[in-house]
């Protein structure tokens, strides 16, 4: 080992990456590791990096520990837990100089397989397992738990915290609890005897976590659907959206059975394909249920025809799009924000759809619940635009809250009483000037309020019509309705720079957390930007004002073609040169490092300094 390199010394600020083999049972031990850090009051975030495969391929779990509370991906690795020989070389290469390599030293490796600027921590995990356990399955599973014990010694994680987590996880299964305790201690002792002392990376108890919770976006969104009053879910399995429906199913089983009869207040159907799943959602929405589907880009492509029908026939429906790398099958297990345009203008003909952009699991819950109110109020499809990073990774977020005084907004539904009272019913009649007509639900009244729903053009009273003027008036009303939507969707969130500045930066979705950190990094370099997080389409006027009041704005996106910029330029008739795109689309989670580097390089290149507004 080189004598010039000093081992990294960091407390509550480092990255640990686990390199595992898919299907080896490592996920449980890795999850325990992240939770133990949190239980010690130290903020942490975790990311799964995995292939489209069930067993045998490489998979990684990256944990960033940040006492300061930066929860985006940092990039780089300080401690690599290299449990997968297949990826040894690339895993080794990722370690920061002065960083650490933890590996199973049962089989001796030649010196050439290591680097001389990192510190090696070898523990003969397999040998210990073979000595302690007889069944191959036990040997495999407890090897994972054992490295958790070893890391506890090396990093200073309290054993009592791990014990409690294990007790929580296995509830009353005392045999399993004891077996896991044993494995943790075997690892802990092995590290003590092999390495001797804790390393320079250290977890120190803190109180920076507060009452925050640790959950992935799909689980949160599934719960949001329960709270939002969804009763019908039709879906087709597709990565990375599947676990959203699994979450909805689990929470429904817990929370949605009639206390007296035990019967279900919900219906979940796995359809034969995405065409059928959106068809069922449209049918249920037409018939008065709060219905949703969860899918990803390829599913959205298949649903196009129905989305045009739902837009034109004005049927409430909710779609969760957990975006992944496209086009085509693309990168099914990698993250992107590349379905913005295919959702905003989904289907043939002139259409515009409501999109919501949650920033994390907390907003996936909030927007998930809200989407049903919006869909029924606006009688149109609403897309909750998540991505794999939000959906499939556990994030540290504020706890969920529900305003008990809030009632569901079921929108404009004409009841039997209203019809009986002689109220004029025109299914596509704009009675309130907001572009939103009344609807009746099937079965409402024996003689009034029935109408024929169709995707062909019709007059305000739902009578078939091919008259150009009738068609056009209806299309204009749909535009008016879309303008109404702009006032109902979540407004953008603005973060003003500490100093007055002529430049702004726009972002949305999962870019939010790294952006928070990037802004702080840029500030330290004396680069000041006003920041705005866009939370929905149609855009609030505030978004256009923000762009107008700056000389130029950056727009950070996780796609190749600057899709949100296209949408902004198109809808707001904005001079494209006023928006500078910063695009990250290799499928990995965007980092603060990327954002601040890209911003800084462009600021320097454009020679705009200092970033101060000239007094006019």
């Amino acid at each position: 080992m080189s004598t010039t390199i000093k081992p990294l010394q960091r407390t509550n600020d480092f990255v640990v990456k686990f390199a595992n083999v898919n299907g080896s049972g490592s996920a449980s031990a890795n999850g325990l590791f992240a939770r133990a850090i949190l239980r010690m009051g130290v903020p942490a975030s975790a990311r799964n990096i995995f292939p489209s495969n069930i067993q045998g391929l490489p998979t990684w779990y990256e944990v960033r520990i940040s006492g300061q509370g930066w929860l985006g991906r940092r990039g780089g690795v300080d401690l690599m837990v290299a449990m997968n020989p297949q990826t040894w070389d690339r895993d080794l290469a990722e370690i920061e100089p002065g960083g650490y390599l933890f590996y199973d030293s049962t089989r001796e490796l030649p010196k050439s397989r290591f680097r001389d600027d990192i510190f090696i921590l070898g523990i003969p995990l397999t040998a210990i397992c073979n000595r302690e356990y007889t069944s191959p399955r036990e040997r495999q599973l407890f090897k994972n738990v054992m490295y958790l014990g070893a890391l506890a010694f090396l990093l200073g994680i309290e054993l009592a915290v791990i014990d409690q987590l294990i007790a929580d996880q296995f509830a009353s299964k005392q045999k399993l609890i004891d077996a896991n305790y044993k494995a943790v201690r075997l690892g802990y002792e092995a590290a003590r005897t092999q390495v001797g002392a804790p390393i320079g990376l250290h977890v120190e108890r803190s109180d920076a976590v507060g009452d925050r919770i640790f959950i992935d976006g799909n689980a949160a969104a599934g719960l949001g659907c329960v709270y939002g009053g969804a009763t019908v879910c039709a879906w087709y399995p597709i990565t990375p959206s599947t676990s959203l429906v699994e979450s909805f199913t689990d929470y429904c089983k817990q929370l949605r059975h009639d206390p007296e009869t035990g019967r279900a207040n919900y219906a979940i159907v796995q359809a034969e394909d995405e065409l059928a799943s959106i068809g069922m959602v449209v049918g249920a929405g037409w018939n008065g249920a709060r219905a949703f589907t969860a899918t990803s880009g390829p599913g959205i492509s298949l649903m196009q025809e129905f989305l045009g029908l739902a837009y034109f026939a004005e049927i409430p429906s909710v779609l969760f799009n957990i975006q992944r790398g496209g086009p085509s099958t693309g990168m099914p297990t990698k993250t992107q924000q590349s379905d913005v345009l295919s959702c905003a203008y989904a289907s043939h003909g002139d259409t515009k759809h409501v999109l919501l952009f949650p920033q994390d699991p907390k907003e996936s819950f909030d927007f998930g619940a809200l989407s049903f109110d919006l869909a029924e109020r606006l009688q149109t499809p609403v897309f909750v635009m998540m991505d794999l990073d939000i959906g499939m990774n556990e994030w540290l977020v504020d706890p969920f809250r529900w305003d008990e005084t809030r009632g569901y907004d079921r929108g404009k539904i004409m009841t039997a009483e209203m019809l009986e009272a002689g109220k004029d019913f025109g299914r596509y009649l704009d009675v309130d000037g907001d572009g939103i007509p009344f609807r009746t639900l099937p079965g409402t009244h024996p003689a009034r309020g029935a109408y024929f729903t169709r995707g062909t053009s019709r007059d305000p009273y739902a009578k078939y019509s091919e008259l150009g003027s009738v068609y056009q008036a209806n299309m204009e009303r749909l535009l008016k309705k879309f303008r109404t939507a702009a006032s109902l969707v979540p407004a953008p969130v603005v973060h003003r720079a500490q100093q007055e500045t002529n430049a702004g930066i726009l972002y949305y979705g999962s870019t939010s957390e790294p952006m928070r950190e990037a802004l702080s990094q840029l500030e330290a370099q004396n680069i000041h930007l006003d920041a705005m997080r866009i939370r929905a389409f149609p855009f609030n006027d505030e978004v256009y004002r923000f762009i107008a009041e700056h000389d130029f704005v950056f727009l950070v996106e996780q796609n190749r073609d600057a899709q949100l910029k296209t949408l902004l330029v198109n809808e707001g008739e904005i001079d494209p040169s006023r928006i500078v795109s910063l695009l990250h689309y290799d499928g990995s989670t965007i980092t603060a490092k990327f954002i601040s580097r890209e911003v800084a390089s462009r600021i320097t290149a454009s020679n705009v300094k200092p970033m101060k507004k000239v007094a006019s």
Binding site: L38, D211, R212, I215, L223, V226, Y227, G229, T231, V232, A234, R256, T261, G262, R263, A264, N265, Y266, A267, V269, E272, D273, A276, S277, I278, G279, M280, V281, V282, G283, A284, G285, W286, N287, G288, A289, R290, A291, E305, F306, L309, P399, F400, W402, E404, G407, Y408, L441, P442, G443, T444, P446, A447, A450, Y451, F452, T453, R454, G455, Y464
Partner: protein, 351 residues
């Protein structure tokens, strides 16, 4: 089609049914089908069925896909909500509607292009799932709105109006429905209201997935010599299995048939289907027998009509999902929202 407006005044002697509705209350807008179209006869049969079953018109939801047949729901049950959906995708929309409100009666109207060509997948899966509905295919073997192309139910060797011979094998929707698990499968002919109306009544009271394939000749594009879906061809090759009467609790069952020639089947709602056998050996409660019989007769060039199969105690999608009574769509906040107390517990489990 007719160009005359329907008279608003009804004949005073028009008899009301038990609910006080006359036949007119079950009618819809004026048909825009070609004069003599089989589809109009099916609409008339549906009107008669609903009237005679004393159905509340607004308790029916009628859904269709795209095509001539799918336009027809506009022409009957004007006081029912209708939904003209997407080509070939009516089954999924109907399934969703049914999930939202199990209390309505669902009538799916489709065509052979809609169900056997573009929509074969959705047709098959809807039959599998036990969706409670009456699914009628108005089968003419041809695309009317696009002027006479073959559909997937056109028989191999049959000839189009322009003289083109169909070389592709035909899809038999009844055979498919049987295989997929439909619990009521029948075939009929638009020109035989005496057979069709009782079948529709039985289908509406069946309580499970009821499928009826109704041969419905296209007078404009598929009623010529060489067609196997013409009025003449269907009449000549019709192999009727049985005649059906349906009796409800209030009805007196009059036994005026020779012993052995009738079979009674009690449905889940207590109604009785009386089958007058036209073929001695046929048992419509034996699915495997039905499938074999259908194939055998098809090989002889015959069109088997009548009740092919029924399961008197069908299981439905809602049974399988164990959903609550009543419409899911009308459940309020109280039943649906678990509140902050439960959320606190969930939050606590995520720390």
């Amino acid at each position: 089609m007719t160009y005359l407006l329907k008279p608003k005044l009804h004949h005073p002697s028009l008899a009301p049914n038990a609910l006080g509705y006359t036949r007119r209350d079950y009618e819809g807008a004026i048909s825009t089908m070609c004069a003599g179209c089989g589809h109009d006869s099916i609409s008339a049969a549906l009107i008669q069925t609903c009237y005679e079953l004393d159905m509340e018109p607004h308790r029916v939801a009628k859904l269709s896909g795209i095509g001539c047949s799918s336009k027809s729901p506009d022409y009957f049950l004007g006081n029912s909500h209708g939904f003209n959906t997407v080509h070939g995708r009516m089954p999924s929309v109907l399934t969703g509607a049914n999930l939202a409100n199990r209390d309505l009666l669902y009538l799916g109207i489709s065509g052979d292009g809609d169900s056997a060509s573009i929509g074969l997948g959705q047709f098959a899966h809807a039959m599998r799932r036990g969706v409670q509905m009456v699914y009628v295919v108005e089968n003419n073997g041809v695309y009317g709105l696009t002027k006479g192309q073959f559909s997937a139910t056109a028989d191999k060797g049959s000839k189009s109006k322009g003289g083109v011979v169909n070389e592709d094998s035909a899809i038999d929707l009844c055979a498919l429905a049987l295989q997929m698990g439909a619990t009521f499968v029948a075939r009929s002919f638009s020109g035989d209201k005496g057979q069709l109306v009782p079948l529709l009544k039985a289908a509406f009271t069946h309580g499970g997935t009821a499928f009826i394939d109704v041969l419905s000749p296209c007078v404009t594009f598929n009623n010529h010599a060489g067609s196997t879906k013409s009025y003449d061809f269907v009449r000549e090759h019709n192999d009727a299995l049985n005649r059906l009467d349906i009796f409800f609790g209030k009805d007196e069952i009059v036994a005026d048939y020779a012993p052995g020639s009738v079979t009674d089947v009690r449905q889940h709602d207590g109604s009785i289907l009386r089958l007058h056998k036209l073929h001695d050996s046929y048992t419509p409660t034996d699915r495997i027998h039905a499938m074999r019989y259908l194939e055998e007769r098809k090989a002889l060039g015959q069109i088997v009509t009548g009740l092919l199969y029924m399961d008197a105690t069908p299981n439905t999608l809602h049974d399988n999902l164990n959903t609550v009574e009543g419409a899911l769509g009308i459940l309020g906040d109280k039943a649906l929202c678990p509140g902050q107390g439960n959320l606190d517990k969930i939050n606590a489990s995520l720390r």
